[in-house]
Symmetry: C2
Subunit: 509 residues, 2 copies
């Protein structure tokens, strides 16, 4: 089953920008520089991103690539591209310590929980999807499972064997790194020098079936206690971890496609091995732009499942973790991640999260205020530059912190108009609203968690009614009642701010 043409994905946005009028620069990790993004078959874009190994709950470190490439997916779609976005689920072959020996991560968890490995996969995939929905991360166009593509992986191994860059040894098949390195540039992505690695690496137990210590498994013969295995002409076994991404990207995006993304920690050995596999099998590289998001750190160290220093997304949302002072909403997490450029590290602290939460509330309150502003005959404030600046920031390698800074800048104008110190014409007001909605909601993917509820209208109505009662009391000079109402609402979490021509209210976080 093969399809070469990349077809349009389902449209998400109604308003689209022209892709021609925006010169999007993206940083290509392969060339270590920003390049103008030019897809091979515009308006179609093929994009592959490494997804999770589903043997535990997603943590903050998983949220970052998901949100980074969701931002890219949203922006490309907004620009009018038809994006086929493939993000895989690793459910087999990923061994402990990312090594060629040891227990499969999924199978180990299944053994510990006394369930079938596929029950582990189902359980954590469902929870991952739920977390992604909470973070407003759009589902990818295709989400292939490694275990669902065993035949395709075997066929890919045959191509590598036929090309002479792999060898069979004792029922396993290994990639012949020395031969590949003679013919191609191994290490071009990560900068690793193969001789250096040879000197730095001792031969490990059981690795004697490899010709060279850095050769990596394409197919592993299953040990008797290994519970996930399939038949093959080499042995009853399972595919190597690096293989699935080469195979499934080729399968769904073709032998050459536009973008491959993932976390920086996957650059070596995972992505380096992907390049080697694809080049060996296809005779050429398949990826045009490699993109890598930087890491989340905690206490100065990368947050990672294998390091044991992670905080899961569910723990963030509930606040139940010793390192968390309290709960943080999904949108706070999303905003926190978008407030840094994707190629910078982000250090987790409670203080930083609380600052993000405040910033997000300020932005959303501003947009709610914007939506209630009344137009005037003329404009006394200039809103013409804001939209262009936001596009400029996005076009500069997805500079989301700069977009957010521009949106904060614009709040000043909204406040002035609200306070009667400036005016906006109907056209300017409409453009300003469109800019905020497009960038905050469609592209940054934020959502207003407060107004999302079906009960919000009732809350608005009830509070308005209570404010009306208070207004009546005031008019009758019954200030005691008026103050009493203000204090009572305060205890319910509704904060009032009296203005000369009315009263504003806000829900406390």
């Amino acid at each position: 089953m093969r399809i070469n043409a990349i077809r349009p994905t389902f449209a998400i946005f109604k308003d689209k920008m022209s892709m021609e009028s925006n010169k999007l620069l993206i940083y290509n990790s392969l060339l270590k520089k920003k390049e103008v993004f030019e897809p091979m078959h515009a308006p179609h874009v093929g994009m592959y991103v490494c997804g999770p190994t589903v043997y535990g709950d997603a943590h903050l470190g998983h949220a970052r690539p998901a949100i980074t490439f969701d931002l890219l997916f949203r922006y490309l779609t907004h620009l009018g591209y038809k994006v086929r976005y493939v993000r895989n689920i690793t459910d087999v072959g990923h061994l402990e310590h990312d090594a060629d020996e040891g227990e499969d991560k999924i199978a180990k968890k299944a053994r510990l929980e006394s369930v079938e490995p596929m029950e582990i996969v189902q359980y954590y995939t469902t929870r991952y999807h739920h977390n992604m929905e909470q973070l407003n991360v759009l589902p990818p166009s295709i989400e292939p499972h490694a275990s669902g593509h065993i035949m395709e992986q075997q066929a890919f191994i045959e191509r590598i064997l036929q090309a002479g860059y792999a060898y069979e040894s004792n029922g396993s098949v290994y990639f012949d790194l020395r031969k590949y390195a003679r013919d191609f540039d191994y290490g071009k992505l990560s900068g690793h020098v193969i001789e250096e690695q040879l000197n730095n690496t001792r031969a490990l137990d059981g690795q004697d079936e490899k010709r060279f210590p850095l050769d990596f498994a394409l197919w592993k013969k299953a040990a008797p206690e290994h519970i996930m295995h399939w038949p093959s002409r080499w042995s009853e076994g399972f595919p190597g971890w690096h293989l699935e991404c080469s195979v499934m990207s080729t399968r769904y995006l073709g032998e050459a496609f536009d973008i491959h993304g993932g976390g920086m920690d996957l650059m070596f050995p995972h992505h380096e091995c992907e390049i080697a596999q694809s080049t060996a099998a296809l005779g050429h590289e398949s990826v045009r732009y490699w993109m890598h998001n930087n890491m989340i750190t905690i206490d100065g160290q990368k947050m990672g499942k294998s390091l044991g220093n992670f905080i899961t997304l569910n723990e963030f949302f509930s606040g139940e973790h010793p390192k968390l002072q309290r709960a943080y909403s999904p949108m706070t997490i999303r905003f926190f991640i978008l407030q840094a450029h994707y190629r910078s590290t982000v250090d987790f602290t409670n203080e930083a999260l609380q600052a993000s939460e405040k910033g997000l509330q300020r932005l959303l309150a501003g947009i709610r205020m914007l939506d209630r502003l009344q137009p005037s005959a003329t404009s006394t404030a200039d809103v013409s530059q804001l939209q262009a600046r936001c596009y400029e920031a996005m076009n500069d390698d997805l500079n989301s912190p700069m977009v957010i800074a521009h949106l904060f800048d614009g709040l000043r104008i909204i406040n002035l108009v609200h306070d009667g110190k400036a005016t906006l014409s109907g056209d300017d007001l409409a453009q300003l609203r469109q800019t905020y909605h497009t960038f905050a909601f469609d592209i940054l993917g934020l959502k207003d968690e407060e107004t999302g509820s079906s009960h919000q209208t009732l809350i608005n109505d009830l509070i308005s009614y209570i404010l009306e009662i208070r207004q009546n009391a005031k008019q009758q000079k019954d200030y005691a009642t008026s103050d009493q109402i203000r204090d009572r609402l305060q205890t319910l979490g509704v904060e009032l701010k009296d203005r000369k021509d009315g009263t504003d209210w806000n829900l406390k976080v």
Copy 2:
């Protein structure tokens, strides 16, 4: 990759009943009678249910098997069984008109939408999962995709070929129905008589590669325009539709397992063919209890995708369909389905749905009232029988309408206690609450959509405050203000009911 033992699934409930103290009767479609449910390897239960073919949005007809077997999954788990629940996703091989010739349903939709077939699968699977979550249908333990088990299906075909019950013809492999019918009882589930079918069926175009018109495809050679195909020793092709369920049930539940469920419309030919395939390959039947839910009808006809008379779940939830007078919430749909026994037909009408909606609101309002009742020193009402009656109804082939009737009966006592005309001791009150919560929420899987919101508390507080203001006005004999507040709340959808010692309120649906 094979695991024979059925292992415990993830636990959902904290409170569990003993499975020994409940004699669960289930109607076995194979024997056409109710039998005591006795799993092969208690406390483990293996259960397989036919899931959707994901080429369109789920409609009311899809909700019924999902809810029926969710009820069974929940009840078995409540009884303390460790259930491995497998529900498949059909993403390949299901041809138009459920036939052996014609276009694949998924591939056809992909052609019409100009996308990759797996984009169709991903898109509709995500929407299906979302609908299931709205209906509070628990995810199954494993949800295998047909396209992810091509190797296993090929291996199963080899077993059938080796046993002599299939033959290759022009690159396709067909099940040899006449040979099977000589050795085994074909038609035992559905009652179809094979000679009768032979007389009733004319040979179809292109079916000449079959030896007998009713022989069905296990593997189909792909026509040049067919875009979903895999290599095999017979041809580049794809598996027959019936095969996946035999293969994936065996793969995840073993060669003999407890329960196979699905809609009654699948009994013939799908389930009959499954029995034939499994019996031919394994030498014995694999399913102990066959269970079938009845159909949803509309204007007297089965509601079905292929009949074109369906209303999707999203249309029910939004009200956007010419046949719908208005929107119905997911819980209304769930309650509507549970109000009929799963082996009865359910006819869709707006009147019936509105009656369900009212009934559900009455039940939930009763439970909210129950949760607010105060205990007394002694009981003047007898609540001891209610719980036993509910278990009795569930044990009688999942008689959910009877459970609901008992829960309605109990509302009488709750109302009496609320009105001060009866009392309940602390123990009785606790037992009554446990009965309602266990049956309404854990087993029937209802949820209180009103109190689900995080804003509910604020709404309660605001309304309570307004009622306090109204109470003050009344005490000052300011009945005009009191009436005004009542009328205003009425327009906001809040209905008041004055009682001698306070005021009750309800949100209008």
